[in-house]
């Protein structure tokens, strides 16, 4: 049996677990997957966070991807980081950089168990700040400078590829290299607030071809395996070319709800809660949703397409939030089948999505910096 098939049946514990610690955020990015802004009063307590780490350690989850919201806004964030390290659960956390002072950077550089991912969405301030808010590029690059100065090599610079930054791929690579960091590119999903901007920001089919060839030419660039739908253009991209939702990945949200992947924060893909009896372990191993997701996929409308083995029908979340059937083409199908399906559906099947934890009223534009 091929490895991909083995993974399709699921694992005893996730390989890649995303854990969003808070819905609070000091930015208001237009494409935020989790519609973050305000903290939720029901967010897990420090003791509950520690109990989750204990479970992850027992399940031998090697590392977690911590995000939010802006995870460093939680007052107990640094304590949680120390607890994970003590339990030998590695952490990679995503941040906008606003709390990565020189002192914090030195502390982070001192352990192998912590990796940092700084998000930017443009290789210059104008392109980035249009998505992430005024001043956010300067804050992110200050954080990168602090990490580099502290000797933290190989941290990640993470970019969501959009119609407006896809021409800057070489610039992103150069920027990451200048800080001795690693570039990571991921796909824009129509999830959270991303649903509102997806039509304008998602890359065109022609841009997808350029991106595909650029990725093949730059195999060291990380992607979180998020562009596997592009494998239908010919050669497979490196990594797992399969939707890993509920099979190798899942998401724990700030209130402890467990979803099939970081891009489907919707009731239909909620498998349970870490607060349920049996905790996260039981949700991962026994929930009805995850059991169902580990069944063989049906190719559905894609069955007659010669590329199905390469792209496996693409991303479940992208289909769901654009109102397409899950057993059909991805909205960004490289052969154009998704576009045709979108036109036919004309948005009728799009799920209702609320504003989530988005702040109402004017968005704060200044980002607090903690002195080092």
């Amino acid at each position: 049996m091929q490895l991909t098939e083995r993974l399709a049946h699921g694992l005893d514990a996730p390989i890649c677990l995303t854990w969003e610690l808070t819905y609070g955020c000091n930015l208001a990015c237009v494409h935020c997957l989790s519609s973050s802004g305000r903290r939720d009063p029901r967010e897990l307590s420090t003791a509950e966070l520690f109990a989750v780490v204990d479970e992850l350690a027992a399940m031998q989850v090697f590392y977690v991807n911590i995000g939010g919201g802006e995870p460093t806004l939680r007052p107990d964030f640094w304590e949680l980081l120390d607890y994970c390290v003590a339990k030998r659960v590695g952490v990679k956390f995503s941040t906008n950089g606003s709390r990565i002072s020189p002192g914090v950077a030195r502390r982070l550089a001192s352990t192998d168990y912590v990796d940092v991912q700084i998000s930017i969405d443009g290789a210059d301030a104008a392109t980035n700040d249009a998505i992430r808010g005024p001043g956010s590029f300067a804050v992110a690059t200050d954080a990168m400078r602090n990490l580099a100065d502290a000797g933290f090599t190989g941290f990640k610079v993470s970019v969501v590829v959009t119609r407006h930054n896809v021409d800057q791929l070489d610039d992103f690579a150069a920027l990451a290299a200048s800080y001795d960091a690693q570039l990571r590119l991921t796909r824009l999903r129509p999830s959270g607030r991303g649903a509102d901007v997806w039509d304008e920001l998602h890359v065109t089919n022609e841009q997808q071809r350029t991106l595909y060839h650029w990725l093949l030419d730059h195999p060291d660039v990380l992607t979180g395996d998020s562009f596997f739908h592009l494998s239908a253009l010919g050669e497979s991209l490196p990594g797992l070319n399969l939707c890993g939702a509920g099979r190798v990945v899942c998401l724990i949200d700030p209130v402890g709800d467990v979803y099939a992947c970081p891009f489907v924060l919707h009731d239909q893909f909620k498998a349970g809660s870490v607060r349920d009896s049996g905790g996260f372990t039981r949700v991962w191993r026994e929930s009805a949703l995850f059991t169902e997701l580990r069944e063989p996929d049906s190719a559905g409308a894609c069955a007659s397409c010669g590329s199905y083995d390469a792209c496996r029908g693409g991303c479940m979340a992208a289909k769901f939030f654009t109102g397409l059937p899950l057993d059909g083409p991805d909205p960004e199908c490289v052969h154009g089948h998704g576009e045709a399906a979108l036109l036919a559906a004309s948005g009728a099947g799009r799920p209702l999505v609320g504003a989530g934890h988005t702040r109402s009223g004017p968005v704060p534009v200044s980002i607090g910096r903690r002195p080092s």
Partner: protein, 82 residues
């Protein structure tokens, strides 16, 4: 030559072989079968890797393939060789 699991690597058994994760370079490696997993886990006990193969019930005809697999794991920094 003595082989051993790299000190920065964690191993997690799965229904097929195992997953290995290197906390330094943060790479994930798959070990495709249980015998290879047994060899990796016990290699440090043996001066001669053939003895580890014997102990893990690897048929002698497959030893060359297992040596190549071990070399790949050394290159991937899952296993050390000294």
């Amino acid at each position: 030559m003595r082989y051993a699991l790299h000190p920065q690597v964690g191993i997690r058994p799965e229904r097929f072989g195992a997953l290995a994760y290197h906390y330094g370079n943060r790479r994930l490696t798959f070990l495709g079968d249980d015998k290879l997993l047994a060899v990796v886990r016990t290699a440090h006990d043996y001066d001669d890797i053939d003895a580890a193969f014997t102990a893990a019930d690897v048929p002698p005809a497959q030893w060359p393939a297992y040596r190549r697999a071990l070399d790949r794991l050394v290159a991937a920094e899952v296993v050390t060789c000294s």
